[in-house]
Amino acid sequence: MTDFTWLIGGEAGFGIMTTGVVFSKIATRSGYHIFDYVEYPSLIRGGHNAYEVHVSDFDVSHLSPTIDVLVCLNKETYEKHKIRLTPKSLVIFDEDEFEIKENCKKIIIPFKKILTDLKGQPVMKNTIALGASIGILGGDIDELIKMISEQFAKKGEAVINFNKQFVQAGYAEVKKSYSGLILNYLIKKSEGDKLVITGNDAFSLGSVIADCRVYSAYPMTPSSTVLTTLAAWQEKIGMVVRHAEDEISVINTAIGSSFAGVRSAVGTSGGGFALMVESVSFSGITEIPLVIFLAQRPGPATGMPTWTEQGDLLFTVFSGHGEFPKIVLAPGDNEEMIELTAKAFNLADIYQLPVIVMSDMYLSESHKSVSKKFVDNFINSYKVNRGKLINQIINNKSPSFAKATEGKQKYLRYKITEDGISPRLIPGTPGYYYQENSYEHLEDGHTTEEAESRIKQVDKRAKKWLTYLKKDFSMPKVYGDISKSEIVFVSWGSTKGVVLQAQKLLLEKGTATAFIHFNHLYPLDKEKVTDLLNQDKKYVLVENNSWGQFGKLLTMETGIEIKESILRYDGRPITVKEIVSGVR
């Protein structure tokens, strides 16, 4: 059975990230599932980078407490991570660079000597390490060479061949001196294709599937790779990506393009979202659809830019001045990210309001393998639903206005309806005109301060929430059987994977548990949620923040207080071990 963790570490700026993705892809191409995680400081050069990959026969989305193969490109890697080694762990390092006094299984690879002999650059140490890693894990060297060839395809045969030598040198060294230690963890097996994607990639993919045509953003870790990924794809997929001057411009650009008829989204982290909040409210009253991707990192203010936290939940749920409906979703893993991103665009169009998709650094930047079949099936089943958008062909060369308006009733943008949703018209449609208005307005969009009209519009907007709860809200998924469990975990978003794994371990030790995982965060169906939470069980809240913010939200909505909680707020993701030991 294969279930191991490989970790490579070295100085920032020397290709650790690229090497990690190559390793993950070799594992998935060999038929395994992966989940990976990167640790890096908010620096371009000089800090410590670590990239770990959890490889398994089964679908995984959690990290292991122990490391099976540790690749040290410098001494710091060993010092920082040795605490996670077991007597069985293998350590790949160069004895010319540092010594290891502790007792462990040493795989000595002469990185320095190989680089000198083959006249390589320091970054090629990674390539040697990959060769050695594939060798010691019993993997297929040809698969690695194929990846290297793809990676350098644009640079030509000479560059490919030059790099190949380093792969082969690392691989040969293991075969020559350590054949007795080779693990058969990466033996090639055939499984369907898998995509190696991050949460940010999953959002990007979901937005393309949903026919998003404008993406606007300002770089902010950990959301930036959505901007760079979609920017790289834009010509191919016909999207327009605008890197605007600030987040205020970002969200208002998207509101403009959405008004003009195209699906539009923005992406940011907490600080950038704080700047956008004025226009979250603007989208709320004008009823202009908008999808907002929010990848959280630890705050307040600049906080810890490259680390993880779920600290913006209450800020997000209550973002925007005034009372208006919005929808907040928080996918638990990459599959849910693809599904809920695409759903977010439908919800934004159907209910004509802002929909916020919440992620965090852990989900946004970790790769998880997703079966290609799952993605293909989802693409085939997904239907673009633009709600009450009146779909008329736009013809800018319209006949005379008088002729075009003949026999037509005045269009009412904010018409009072049973479900709270008014028909929306694409600007440019001949014979009509209307205004979206940030002021309170009459049904025709004109400004009003009159009491009765105000009440009508407030009630109309509020009705959209009721319609949503009836038609499109999804109750949390329950994993395990609440009636047969003493302990019931409650969590939301990216903590899903670790809780599921903790459940498995607890069951092995004889404790059956249940787990209620929320990904439709707000609004909530109070009655139904109350029924899940008011049973005579030990409920345990699991969150990556210090306040237990989701617990507070549940109390506000249901009156139920979850007394026990496992919270982590040091910038690191919650681990399986913490959850298991937290309830035992």
Binding site: G256, G261, V262, E278
Partner: protein, 285 residues
């Protein structure tokens, strides 16, 4: 072809103070739209917040009554989605040069094909008369009782040096000329700004109709509008309380959407959905 009428474009009755410069600007905008052969369905407008923005209720077109300062990014967004639709932004000086100042600079840089029509009355009218960023140094207002310390912003030189490709100035007291400037601005391909000197009869007792009538002058026919340096020099005359009227700067350059290859064939709103997902998914295997 049947042309549109003032009636087609006229919404609710304006609520501006009698004698306000906005009346003239309102008429000038409608005249310009009619002369360009546009109708309420074939143009989009974004209004800022202020007395100028209140025109949203008085002008029938596809419109957003935006937030204070945010009209320009909304206008840019509309243009990205439908670059064939003429887009105008109707804003005030506090709105566009104060709250939204950063957006102005970057809209100029991008040469976004939108027309910004600024009502420059040098005060905040709707909040009852605080000084605006274009107020003269020393101007006494409710928020600056001892006189404003800052020097005024110069919207003309600021936009010219930021990359605007059409910058004009007019006076609200001259409706015909204002209409001709707005028309030229909308016709111009690329970013256009028309700064309209507008007396606020209620809160600005210094920059009155009389004040401007004594200090404005029209650029003569020989003025070369395509020279950046002379245009900047012309703009700086404002600092000496001389106000040139006319097109101060105009050059032809590709607009933002002209330079986006995915918009070459058709508008974003009209194009077909992308469905060749294999092209994307294969990148991750």
């Amino acid at each position: 072809m049947n042309v549109s009428t003032i009636q087609d474009f006229s919404g609710y009755d304006p609520t501006w103070c009698p004698g306000c410069g906005d009346w003239g600007i309102g008429v000038a905008i409608k005249q310009a739209l009619i002369q360009l052969g546009l109708n309420p369905s074939s143009v989009a407008a974004v209004f800022g917040i202020g007395c100028s923005g209140n025109m949203n209720d008085f002008l029938n077109v596809y419109a957003i009554h935006s937030l204070h300062g945010r009209a320009l990014p909304n206008a840019i967004g509309i243009k990205l989605a439908n670059h064939k639709l003429p887009v105008i932004a109707i804003v005030g000086d506090g709105d566009c040069y104060g709250e939204g100042g950063n957006h102005l600079i970057h809209a100029c840089r991008g040469n976004h094909d939108i027309t910004v029509i600024t009502h420059d009355n040098r005060v905040y009218g709707l909040t009852t008369g605080q000084v605006a960023p274009t107020g003269q140094k020393g101007f006494k207002s409710k928020s600056t009782p001892s006189g404003v310390i800052e020097i005024p912003i110069n919207p003309l030189s600021l936009s010219i040096t930021s990359g605007a490709t059409f910058v004009a100035q007019s006076f609200a007291g001259d409706v015909l000329h204002t209409a001709s400037m707005i028309k030229a601005g909308i016709k111009h391909k690329g970013f256009s700004l028309i700064n309209i000197l507008q007396p606020c009869v209620t809160f600005n007792k210094v920059n009155t109709y009389q004040y401007y009538q004594q200090r404005v002058y029209k650029l003569d026919e020989n003025y070369k509008k395509n020279n950046l340096k002379t245009a900047v020099e012309k703009s700086l005359e404002t600092n000496e309380e001389k106000f040139p009227l006319g097109v101060i700067y105009q050059v032809e350059k590709p607009s933002y959407t002209d330079q986006i290859s995915q918009l070459k064939k058709e508008t974003l709103v009209n194009k077909k959905r992308f469905v060749d997902f294999e092209k994307i998914t294969k990148l991750f295997i």
